[in-house]
Symmetry: C2
DNA sequence: CCCACCGTTTGAACCGATTCAAAAAAAGTC
DNA sequence: GACTTTTTTTGAATCGGTTCAAACGGTGGG
């Protein structure tokens, strides 16, 4: 293999100093026209492709790239709808800024290889930092990082997250305005199996997202005079489970069944609509459903789902800026959600 | 901001030489236990997180990461089904090897920023190198690269691609074995609008994929005594278009209508099945359909689509190995496709 | 007691660039 | 022509490591 051409070689060939050659590529306006051309010519003749990123990096310390890290295998980033959605936005934002994007996976079983410790990036976006593992790993590296989807009570970790409480509140208010009075909440990561869970169980969940959303729903309903106790929370269970089973209990007695379902995730809402359709219940004439997250599928379901959409773009912009512009959020930064009105909600049946 | 801790600082603190400190992290077996512990202790005390990747990179020249480049905006990699599918496999392969994955976008309009020239990677995987642009850009950088989805007659470019001809042949043979005699081919990137195109037009296409697939179909059918002229090729037109329109012409006369459709892409096949269902034609009882590509949706359509599946995993493995193990393919390397039998093909109607 | 050998450690060279104070050259001024 | 200014160019320091030949200290054999 032929020796690589270095800037020095080009400089020698052109009969100028190392420093001048560097200027030709980085601040051409400093170099006299004639010299600049001579250096360029030499570079061409030698097949020099421009300063190597590695050398530049070492000196400047800036990579101009961000790392997107997840505590999951890499392919997860392409399979999981939320990760994919946010990553798409992050990609667009990086693109617009001319920054690079590297994907990083860190699993506890497989902590070696290219990971948080060795990735050539200026900082990290952390996805799925439910467990402290990822955060601790990243802190050790000493690069700036922002946690997306932070799910902890710890408010010291720099994070860009969504206003679960406010979003849930808005969802409930929307249904209240439509005249609904009999609600049910559909949650996840609660209880052991499908079925109703008590407010106490909700309070005890380790998932801040779930807790805040529940509290948001309760708060809005309480304002309208509907106490927590009258709002059944049904969940699919911590280890997944069937939405149908959870709903079957809810709709066992049609007379007291809810007219409005507050789903803590679009996935749940979509499953609920499918189940309702199977039961001959019409959405939104008989039951209104509002989701949470704003996944792409929500726009194309039948009927299209009314949902609280996460501000994906703004999350991406804010967190990328945090790393690249050194504009780290002070602790947790909360972004509002948008209520997207579609066809799955309507006036309460009379 | 506090000064960063360098390996040198640790070495000094531990009272050893720079070189020994380096060995502690990279070849600990060379260092005496007592000294090793002393250095580790000093590192801990100073908050040193281990050798910085930047320095290491400069010396060793290896990044241990591959760049996935497309001549499209970055988000394309998450939106386009083919790109996403192959990227998922590439991600898994990289993960398994402990290698990094960086995403790179190079568009002619937006050639600045982090791109082929500046990405810190060991080599590139090129997606969508239909136009020479991407290839030329990459060649200039001087790093190894492999073109995926190469679509050119130029056989010098290192590439890992699929056996379009053989795949098409296998698809046609499958239908022949089921007794079909009246075929139609459904293509894309042919002609100006939806409708039939002549063999001459097919020969003239710039897309090697399309041409090779067509030739594969023709070759298999010719073996069974069905000449090119009896196989109508319908296409949706170069600028997209409606599959229904193309099919409507084909099925105008039910007596001479094909009993088997060879679609050059699953997308076309799925659209065709939807149209056929709309027309009251049953798949596969009335018409058999076989796709090409093996996109995930093909497995869950109704009926599930029989298709020639691309060997995504092998493409990923082969191309990643090419870069990281310096096992570049000699010119173009062709991988076979798998016929995946599902429910969209059946015996020819009698 | 000398020497060869082995396991450790050192020190300097090198990787490929950027940066900046200072020197050199060119251009103005009087 | 001598003196300022301004524009270019130079050369050395620096970034944070890795690597390797050589030096070193200790051991065992003869």
């Amino acid at each position: 293999m032929t020796k690589t051409i270095r800037l020095k070689d080009v400089a020698e060939a052109a009969g100028v100093s190392h420093g001048t050659a560097s200027n030709v590529f980085n601040r051409p306006e400093l170099v006299r026209d004639e010299v600049r051309e001579r250096v360029r010519e030499a570079a061409r003749a030698l097949g020099y492709a421009g300063p190597s990123p590695a050398g530049r990096l070492l000196r400047s310390g800036k990579v101009n790239a961000i790392g997107f890290a997840a505590d999951q295998p890499l392919d997860y980033l392409f399979r999981d709808p939320w990760a994919r959605r946010i990553l798409t936005e992050v990609a667009e934002v990086c693109d617009a800024r001319g920054a690079g994007l590297a994907l990083v996976s860190v699993t506890e079983e497989h902590p070696t290889g290219w990971n948080i410790e060795s990735a050539l990036v200026d900082g990290f976006l952390l996805s799925g930092s439910g467990r402290k593992f990822l955060v601790e790993m990243t802190q050790r590296r000493g690069l700036p990082f922002v946690s997306l989807s932070l799910d902890t009570r710890d408010t010291d970790v720099p994070a860009v997250c969504i206003d679960d409480f406010g979003g849930a509140q808005a969802a409930a208010r929307h249904l209240l305005e439509l005249g609904h009075r009999r609600f049910a909440v559909l949650g996840f990561a609660l209880g052991d199996g499908p079925g109703r869970v008590t407010p106490r169980e909700v309070q005890a969940t380790r998932s801040m997202n779930v807790l805040e959303r529940a509290r948001g729903y309760w708060a809005a309903l309480a304002e309208a005079g509907i106490p927590e106790a009258e709002v059944p929370v049904h969940a699919i269970g911590r280890n997944g489970g069937n939405v149908g089973e959870a709903l079957a209990l809810l709709f066992a007695d049609r007379a007291t069944a809810p007219t409005a379902i507050l789903a803590m995730a679009d996935r749940l809402a979509l499953a609920a609509m499918a189940w309702l359709e199977g039961q001959g219940l019409r959405v939104p004439q008989d039951v209104s459903v509002v989701g949470f997250d704003g996944v792409p599928e929500a726009a194309s379901s039948t009927p299209p789902l009314t949902t609280m959409e996460q501000p994906y773009r703004r999350i991406a912009e804010r967190s990328v800026a945090a790393i690249l512009d050194d504009a780290m959020p002070e602790g947790r930064e909360v972004l509002p959600l948008d209520l997207v009105l579609r066809a799955s909600t309507g006036p309460a049946p009379s």
